[in-house]
C-alpha cells in the first residue's frame, strides 16, 4: 500500500520524473567533470513514477511499474498492447493459515540460512553473507526484552548432492523455521524456491542476481538484492546511448548464471538497434581463450561486455588488450569490483566500467555505523554480500516480531512491503517483490574504483528505519 505522501509527491512530479527517465529522445548532456570520467547513468526513479511509459496509463493505488521499470525503449513489443500483462498487481496468497495456533512450547524463533557450499565458487561470498546475517541476529537478540523469545539461525550449507537446496528447504520445514534466507547461486535458489512454495515458508533472497528468480509467480519470496535485469538495462543505456557504441561483443561464462545474466542485456541492445556482433563463452577457470579472442578481434567491437567470476574476467581483459584490442571500451557487472579482477587484469583494468549498487565508501551515517559495528564484530569491513545479508536478516526478524510465530502472517507482512530502509539504502519493491531501486556505475581509474553518485530519489525516505506497510 503506497502512502498518501508517496502519491502526492509522485503525482506532483510527473514532468520532471519523465524527463529524467529513459523515455527521452535527446542525448543527455555530458556529465560534469567531477563525476569521474563522465559515465554516470541516467537517473531514474523506479516505482516513484506513477505513469506507465509504455501505455501512458496511470497506476492505480495497488499497481506496480511494468516490466521491472525497464526503460520504455527496451521493452519488448513496445507499441503493441499484449493480450495479458503480469505483475502490474501482486499475486495474493489465498490459502489459509493466518489464524492457525502458534506452535506449542517454542523456545526460540527459528530462521533458516541457506549458504553456498563453502568450497564452491560462491563460498567466500556466502561466508561474508553469513557474517552479516549473524550480526543482525546478535543485535536483535541483544535487544530482546524480558519474556521475548530469542531468534535462532538454522544454518545449512549447500552441498554437491544434486538438487541439495531442495532437500535443505525441506530440512528447514522439519525444523519449523518461520522463514529462511539465501542464497547466491541461481540454480540452488530456484530449487529451494520451488520447495518453498509447497512448504509455505517465506524466503528472503539476499544475493542471487538471476532475473528469472522472481518471475516464477511464487508469492513467498522477496529479493532485497537488485538483480541483473537492473544492471542490464543500465549497462545497455550506458553503452549504446551514452557511449555511442554500436558494435558490442559479449564474453561470458558458460553457465546458467552467465546465460540468464546477459540475457536481458542482449535483448535490450537489440531493441536499441545494435544486436551483439559476438556472443562467446568460456568455462570457469579457462586459461586459454585464443579462439574467442580471435573471434572478438575479427568482429572489431567498440565495446566488450564481460560476465563471469572476477578472476576469470580480469585474466581475459588482460589477454584481450595484450592481443591488440586497444580501442574497444570494456564493461562488466558488479562482481568485477572484487579484488581478484584487478589483480588479474593488472594495468589493463584501467578504464573498465561496471554497474554497482552504491559507493561502499559513502559517508552516509547509517552505512558508516554498520561498517563500524561489523568491523567491531568481525575485524574486517563488510562487503556488499554482508550488507545485503544483514538487511535481509533484519527484515525477516522485523516481520517475525510484527507477525508472531506464524509463517502465513510473516508472509503477509513481507509480501505487503513496498519500501524498506536498510543499511544498503532505500529499497523499492515491485510487483514481483524485487528491489528495483536505482543502482549506479563505477569506473576503474588510477588503480581504484570510482563510483558515480546514486540517482537521487525524488522522494526522500522519511527516516532510516523500516517503512514497512503491510497490506
Amino acid at each position: 500500500m503506497k502512502t498518501p505522501l508517496f502519491w502526492s509527491l509522485a503525482v506532483a512530479l510527473p514532468v520532471s520524473v519523465a524527463a529524467a527517465g529513459y523515455g527521452y529522445v535527446e542525448k543527455p548532456e555530458p556529465p560534469a567533470a567531477e563525476k569521474d570520467d563522465g559515465c554516470a547513468s541516467v537517473p531514474v526513479d523506479p516505482a516513484l513514477v506513477n505513469t506507465n511509459q509504455t501505455t501512458g496509463a496511470t497506476y492505480a493505488e495497488d499497481e506496480y511499474p511494468y516490466y521491472a521499470n525497464t526503460p520504455d525503449d527496451m521493452i519488448p513489443f513496445r507499441g503493441v498492447e499484449p493480450y495479458y500483462r503480469y505483475w502490474t498487481k501482486r499475486l495474493p496468497f489465498r490459502g489459509p493459515g493466518r489464524d492457525y495456533p502458534d506452535p506449542p512450547n517454542l523456545k526460540s524463533l527459528k530462521v533458516g540460512l541457506l549458504s553456498p557450499a563453502p568450497y564452491g565458487p560462491e563460498g567466500a561470498r556466502g561466508a561474508r553473507t553469513k557474517k552479516g546475517v549473524v550480526l543482525a541476529f546478535e543485535e536483535a537478540n541483544a535487544a530482546r526484552r524480558p519474556g521475548q523469545l530469542p531468534f535462532e539461525i538454522i544454518a545449512r550449507d549447500d552441498a554437491p548432492l544434486w538438487g541439495s537446496a531442495a532437500n535443505i528447504a525441506v530440512d528447514f520445514a522439519d525444523n519449523e523455521v518461520l522463514g529462511f534466507l539465501g542464497t547466491i547461486d541461481g540454480d540452488a535458489t530456484h530449487v529451494a524456491l520451488r520447495a518453498t512454495l509447497k512448504l509455505e515458508t517465506y524466503m528472503i533472497n539476499t544475493s542471487d542476481p538471476d532475473p528469472t528468480l522472481t518471475e516464477t509467480q511464487i508469492p513467498w519470496l522477496t529479493r532485497v538484492f537488485p538483480d541483473d535485469r537492473q544492471q542490464c538495462f543500465r549497462l545497455a543505456n550506458l553503452i549504446v546511448k551514452q557511449r555511442d557504441c554500436k558494435r558490442i561483443a559479449i564474453l561470458r561464462e558458460s553457465s546458467r548464471p552467465g546465460r540468464v545474466g546477459v540475457m536481458h542485456f542482449i535483448n535490450y541492445i537489440r531493441r536499441l538497434g545494435f544486436p551483439p556482433v559476438q556472443h562467446l563463452f568460456f568455462k570457469p577457470g579457462d586459461k586459454d581463450i585464443t579462439m574467442q579472442i580471435d573471434a572478438i578481434k575479427a568482429a572489431e567491437p567498440d565495446a566488450v561486455l564481460f560476465y563471469g567470476q572476477p578472476d576469470d574476467c580480469g585474466r581475459f581483459v588482460k589477454q584481450l588488450r595484450e592481443a591488440g584490442l586497444k580501442r574497444a571500451q570494456f564493461f562488466g557487472f558488479d562482481r568485477l569490483q572484487e579484488a581478484s579482477f584487478k589483480e588479474n587484469a593488472g594495468a589493463y583494468a584501467e578504464g573498465m566500467t561496471i554497474c554497482y549498487f552504491f559507493n561502499p565508501g559513502r559517508p552516509n551515517q547509517v552505512w558508516q555505523d554498520f561498517i563500524a559495528r561489523f568491523q567491531n564484530r568481525w575485524g574486517e569491513k563488510p562487503d556488499i554480500y554482508a550488507a545485503y545479508g544483514y538487511d535481509g536478516a533484519k527484515l525477516m526478524l522485523e516481520a517475525i516480531d510484527h507477525a508472531g510465530p506464524n509463517r502465513f502472517r510473516v508472509r503477509d507482512y513481507l509480501a505487503g512491503l513496498n519500501e524498506y530502509d536498510g543499511v544498503t539504502g532505500h529499497m523499492i519493491f515491485d510487483g514481483r517483490w524485487d528491489n528495483i531501486v536505482p543502482i549506479t556505475t563505477a569506473h576503474f581509474k588510477d588503480g581504484a574504483w570510482h563510483y558515480d553518485p546514486l540517482p537521487e530519489l525524488r522522494r526522500k525516505p522519511v527516516s532510516q528505519t523500516a517503512q514497512a506497510t503491510p497490506k
Binding site: 511494468y66 516490466y67 521491472a68 519488448p76 513489443f77 503493441v80 499484449p82 493480450y83 495479458y84 500483462r85 503480469y86 505483475w87 499475486l91 496468497f93 489465498r94 490459502g95 489459509p96 493459515g97 492457525y100 548432492l161 544434486w162 538438487g163 531442495a166 532437500n167 528447504a169 525441506v170 520445514a173 530456484h190 530449487v191 520451488r194 520447495a195 509447497k198 512448504l199 528469472t212 518471475e215 516464477t216 509467480q217 511464487i218
Partner: protein, 383 residues
C-alpha cells in the same frame, strides 16, 4: 494419465465401493435437472468435507487418488492416509516406513495394485502392506523432493526437484533425464504423465517435455512469447514455461501454471487467463481431465470446463458454496450452495464418473454430483 479398471475382480470391488458411495447417476431414460441439461459434464450439487475430526492428521491435503480396487488414498502434510470403511482415515507416517511425512503425489501401478507415493524426501512403494523407500542416496532417484509420480508399463517415473527419473520395475535400474541428456531447458520437474506412447514432463521454466521412449527422442512445448511479463497473444502455445502440473487424457494434454491454463488437442493450443475467461485464478495448482473435461484446482476454488461451458465452485465469505455456470453468450448463472469445498485453495483432484474428491489446503472434500447422464462406455453399449 489416469488409471483405469483392469480386471474383473477389481471391477467387482470397485462396483461394490461405488455402490457404497452411491453417486446419483442416471440411466439412459432418466433426465438430469433442466438447469444442467446443457452442461456436458457432471455438476456438483453438494460437498462433504473431512478433516482432523475424521482422522486426517493435518489441515493440508496435497493429493488424492482412488485406486482401481476402490480404496481412497490421500497424501497430506503429515502422512499418507487410507480411507477406512467407517469413513475415518488411517495414517501411515515415517514410523511405518514412509520416507518423509509430507506425501505430495500418488500413482497406482494397475498391473500390481501397488501404490507409489512421492514425498518431500523420497519415493515410496506401498505393496502388500509394506512400504519400501527410494531416496537419492539409496537409489537412482535424481532428487529426494518428488513432486510428481506416474507408472508407465514396466517403469515408475518420478518428477523431482532436480530431474526426472525412471526406474525399471523388473531390473531396478534407473534412468535420469535432465538438462544434460535431454531437451529439458531446466532440470526442475514438477509432474510427469503419459499417453499411450509418450511421456510428458511438466518442467518449471521449461514448459512441457514430450519423450518418446521407443525412439529415445524429445520434443518440448514452450511459451512462444519468450517472456514472463506478458502473454503476447492467446492460444499460441503453453501459456507459460513454468508448469505446475501436466496431465493427459483421451488425446488431450492439459497444462496448469501459475499464469493460467493451457490445453493441447494435438492440433492447436487453447489458453485461458483470469479476467479474460471464466478461469477463477491464474494460480492453478492441478488439473485432472476426464472425458476431455478439465477439473482445475486453483488458489481460488475449482473450475470445470470442456472448453466451452465453465462451472466454477468458490467458497464465500461465510463459508457458503458459490457455484457459477458460464455459458457462451449468456449471463453467468450464480447459485448459492449450502455446502462448499473445505477450502478454496485446491491442491489435488480425483474425479471419476461417480464422484469427485478434492485435496485442499484445509481439508478433504467429496463432490456429490447432481443427477446426470453418464457418458456411454464400451461395456455399457454392448448387448
Amino acid at each position: 494419465m489416469k488409471t483405469s479398471i483392469q480386471s474383473p475382480t477389481v471391477l467387482l470391488g470397485g462396483m461394490l465401493l461405488a455402490g457404497a458411495f452411491a453417486a446419483p447417476c442416471l440411466g439412459a431414460a432418466e433426465a438430469p435437472p433442466a438447469t444442467f441439461r446443457d452442461v456436458p459434464f457432471p455438476v456438483i450439487e453438494r460437498f462433504e468435507n473431512f478433516g482432523q475430526e475424521h482422522g486426517i492428521p493435518h489441515y493440508k491435503v496435497h493429493a488424492v487418488l482412488k485406486t482401481s480396487d476402490g480404496q481412497l488414498w490421500i497424501g497430506t502434510y503429515n502422512g499418507l492416509c487410507q480411507r477406512q470403511p467407517d469413513g475415518t482415515f488411517k495414517r501411515y507416517g515415517p514410523e511405518d516406513g514412509l520416507s518423509h511425512k509430507m506425501a505430495m503425489c500418488l500413482a497406482e501401478d494397475t498391473a500390481t495394485g501397488d501404490l507409489w507415493v512421492g514425498t518431500m524426501r523420497g519415493l515410496n512403494r506401498v505393496s502388500g502392506g509394506k512400504i519400501t523407500s527410494y531416496t537419492q542416496t539409496s537409489s537412482g532417484l535424481p532428487n529426494n523432493v518428488v513432486y510428481g509420480v506416474d507408472v508407465v508399463g514396466e517403469n515408475v517415473w518420478a518428477a523431482t526437484a532436480a530431474g526426472t527419473g525412471a526406474m525399471n520395475l523388473k531390473t531396478g535400474e534407473w534412468q535420469i533425464y535432465d538438462h544434460n541428456n535431454s531437451i529439458m531447458h531446466e532440470p526442475w520437474c514438477y509432474s510427469v504423465t503419459h499417453s499411450k506412447d509418450k511421456i510428458f514432463i511438466g518442467v518449471w521454466g521449461g514448459g512441457i517435455v514430450e519423450h518418446d521412449p521407443k525412439r529415445g527422442s524429445f520434443k518440448e512445448y514452450r511459451d512462444p512469447d519468450g517472456d514472463f511479463h506478458y502473454d503476447l497473444v492467446p492460444d499460441d502455445g503453453p501459456i507459460n514455461d513454468i508448469t505446475s502440473w501436466v496431465n493427459w487424457e483421451d488425446g488431450v494434454l492439459w497444462q496448469s501454471t501459475y499464469f493460467g491454463m493451457s490445453r493441447y488437442d494435438g492440433t492447436g493450443w487453447k489458453t485461458w487467463v483470469e479476467e479474460k475467461s471464466p478461469l477463477l485464478s491464474n494460480f492453478v495448482n492441478f488439473v485432472w481431465p476426464l472425458h476431455r473435461v478439465g477439473w482445475i484446482g486453483s488458489d481460488k476454488g475449482l473450475s470445470v470446463t470442456d472448453g466451452t461451458i465453465w462451472v466454477n465452485y468458490e467458497v464465500g465469505e461465510h463459508d457458503e458454496g458459490i457455484r457459477t455456470i458460464h455459458r457462451p453468450g449468456q449471463p453467468p448463472e450464480v447459485t448459492q450452495m449450502s455446502t462448499a469445498l473445505a477450502n478454496g485453495f485446491v491442491l489435488g483432484i480425483y474425479v471419476d464418473d461417480d464422484e469427485a474428491w478434492f485435496g485442499t489446503s484445509h481439508g478433504l472434500s467429496r463432490g456429490i454430483f447432481a443427477p446426470y447422464k453418464k457418458p456411454a462406455t464400451v461395456a455399457a453399449t454392448q448387448p
